[in-house]
Symmetry: C2
Subunit: 418 residues, 2 copies
């Protein structure tokens, strides 16, 4: 892993377990599949400030509602999550299942249930197999065993266990999404770790997926919540796979202060930047790993009247089925790009739009230019495609990420439940 150009922080190993005082692990509970990690447990040896951002879907999964309740005091010490079952839309038993998950984790870890946050992902409307999931949680807590406090695992074991947690929240994901980084400060080193899952049912409107972040920085609850909100806005909320905003989406952020460092001034600025870059990196991995995707799309809008306008346009293009299929077909159909900008409900002057595919200008002043189909084809045959819109309406900009729409997406989702 290499450090971000000119940045004071650098990427390290260790995923969500990298920050001091945190550990994470995954177990196999056979919730839906055999031989797949499906229960993740993240633990802080001391109470951590906790923040969350949640789906705006009116239909909210049972664990999500419980987690919102448990976040009321902005404190938490563990996150338990499972894949294979969303625990959504099953009524009373769903509420109970989420509560049981929190209670079992709490009891195994010696915490209050209120200090455990719960998340689930998988099929909607099927009751959680409570016995299996609780067995998985117990096994995970036992993994920590004597290591509570992180003392008895070797560094390598710690990394491997955190990796299992990343595996355990995957559904149709094909890429593991875990990163960690560190920021040297005057009084110590701050670490940041995180895992995420995405793949399908991904559309901007916070949530769009599960993401769990940990840091050993010393932050107030208000700082943490604001930092998370800002970071999610430019990262997870700028990813779209299929326009479907899930019932279960959440990003949680725990800060346990174990580094002893309270970032201030320049260090605070660097830390903020690090968290944003971190979230963007996770978000891009989600887009890249969209269900059935063969192409990664980055849509950059510059020169917009406002950030909101830039965001709307970028997301609209990224989410257009017609743009997505054109990218799949490697067809330089820029008209669909402009069309998608047009129905985004953003303010902009269509007559002043310039469009690039990679470095090939395909439209200027809102109309097509003569471009080399060959050069365009060369851009579109890449796995990563950048679409740029240059407006002349102002100074604001935004970037969104997505993927192409493929036969494989249809295959995956035509037969998900059964």
């Amino acid at each position: 892993m290499c450090s971000e150009k000119n940045s004071p922080w650098k990427w390290i190993d260790g995923g969500v377990g990298a920050p001091q005082g945190f550990q994470a692990t995954g177990t196999m509970a056979e919730i839906k599949y055999k031989d797949k990690y499906d229960v993740a447990l993240i633990y802080s040896r001391v109470p951590a400030q906790a923040a969350g951002v949640f789906t705006r879907n009116k239909v909210k999964a049972h664990p999500l509602l419980l987690t919102q309740k448990h976040l009321a005091n902005s404190l938490a010490q563990a996150i338990v999550a499972n894949s294979g079952n969303a625990n959504a839309c099953v009524g009373e038993p769903g509420d109970r299942a989420a509560e049981v998950m929190a209670k079992i984790a709490a009891s195994e870890l010696g915490l209050k249930a209120e200090d455990v946050l719960v998340a689930s992902t998988g099929v909607i409307g099927v009751e959680m197999p409570v016995e299996r999931v609780t067995q998985g949680i117990t096994k995970a807590a036992q993994d920590f065993g004597a290591t509570k406090g992180g003392q008895s695992w070797t560094a390598q074991e710690k990394i491997e266990h955190a990796h299992q947690a990343a595996l355990a929240i995957m559904t149709t994901d094909t890429l593991v999404k875990e990163f960690a980084c560190e920021l040297p400060c005057r009084n110590g080193v701050i670490h940041l770790g995180g895992i995420a899952k995405g793949s399908g049912m991904i559309h901007p409107n916070m949530g769009t997926m599960l993401g769990f972040l940990t840091t050993d920085a010393k932050l107030s609850a208000a700082q943490l919540q604001e930092l998370l909100r800002q970071s999610v806005d430019v990262s997870f909320n700028m990813v779209t796979v299929d326009g479907d905003t899930s019932t279960n989406d959440m990003v949680l952020f725990l800060a346990n202060g174990e580094s002893g460092v309270t970032p201030e001034g320049e260090e605070w600025a660097a830390f903020q930047e690090m968290v944003k870059v971190f979230c963007i990196r996770l978000a891009k991995e989600i887009a890249r790993d969209g269900e059935g995707a063969t192409k990664f799309l980055e849509v950059q809008v510059t020169g917009a009247e406002s950030s909101e306008d830039a965001r709307r346009i970028a997301k609209s293009i990224c989410g257009s089925s017609l743009v997505k299929t054109a990218m799949f077909g490697e067809d330089a159909n820029w008209g669909r790009i402009l069309c998608a900008a047009g129905y985004s409900e953003a303010r902009f002057d269509p007559a002043k739009v310039t469009i690039y595919l990679g470095d090939v200008q395909v439209a200027k002043n809102g109309k097509g230019v003569n471009f080399s189909e060959e050069e365009a084809k060369a851009v579109l045959s890449q796995k990563d495609i950048k679409i740029s819109l240059l407006l002349e309406d102002g100074e604001a900009e935004a970037t969104a990420w997505g993927c192409d729409l493929t036969h494989e997406y249809v295959t995956i989702n035509g037969d998900y439940r059964t």
Copy 2:
């Protein structure tokens, strides 16, 4: 064709040319393909009241802007339309091409250019082959020849020519969308005719497609515009194929008064109802013929707090990629249906939602019920699938139409332009 149950009107032959004083034809101008009708001309022998509803896309095609201008006086006598080229996003030459189309049609038909409405559909961002399209218009006008006024074509020829107009506006459509009906009134018979094209780039927000309606009823411009708006709201605007709102969408309605009948009282009510049913029939054909579709979806929402809430929910479900792929896969994944309702931004109580697939209840009070997978499979294996959501929030209802998302949609749109 059979009459609508208990309705005072009945379905007849003749398409958009059925109303008295109208005639329509199509010609082959090789705009994009050989041996395909691609220029349509609709003509009224007397000036007609004219109304239009247009795309809300900020990027508007050149002919659309011209047509809006020509509608300023609410009068028109002809509609000229082509497929194979959208005449959108090509700048100055696009405006000129649209104007030339109107002028040539006007000159051939002995009208003022302002009385000709122009519409185009096809690929965006490619300049219109003006010579070809104008030759096609001239040929179409010559088809009318001595028949201007509709006297010298036999009834059968009139029907065949009108059918050519329906063929000429098709792009990736596989079904011809043309209907006609008549309403006997005390003082004569009112006729209504219409054609439409849809298929791709279809999403509620008026437009969504091209539709041309004609009637020989005597109506004021204001009546006509209001009737069109109301009818489009419950028909064309309730269809979604892929969520992409096109730059070219419009529905035009001409009323030339040639029946001599001004519908009033009960007859006005019956006429209003006929126009709505007519638009819904065209709209459903568009959904049924969605690009690559193998299933026709009807989503009915009842018991909503307001019509707007019902509409949002119905359209959101109809437009969900995950619902659409589940229907393609014949998978009774009702959780995705409830999820799509949840992100529709409509007001409703998720805990009071009942869901039916056909006549199989799959969820009640917002959670799954034990249903027979076999019975559900029987419903989903049909070509026409009805999804019903029963809310308990009020009395309002709405219905939306759409289709499944298939491998074929991806194939068609991965390679449309080239």
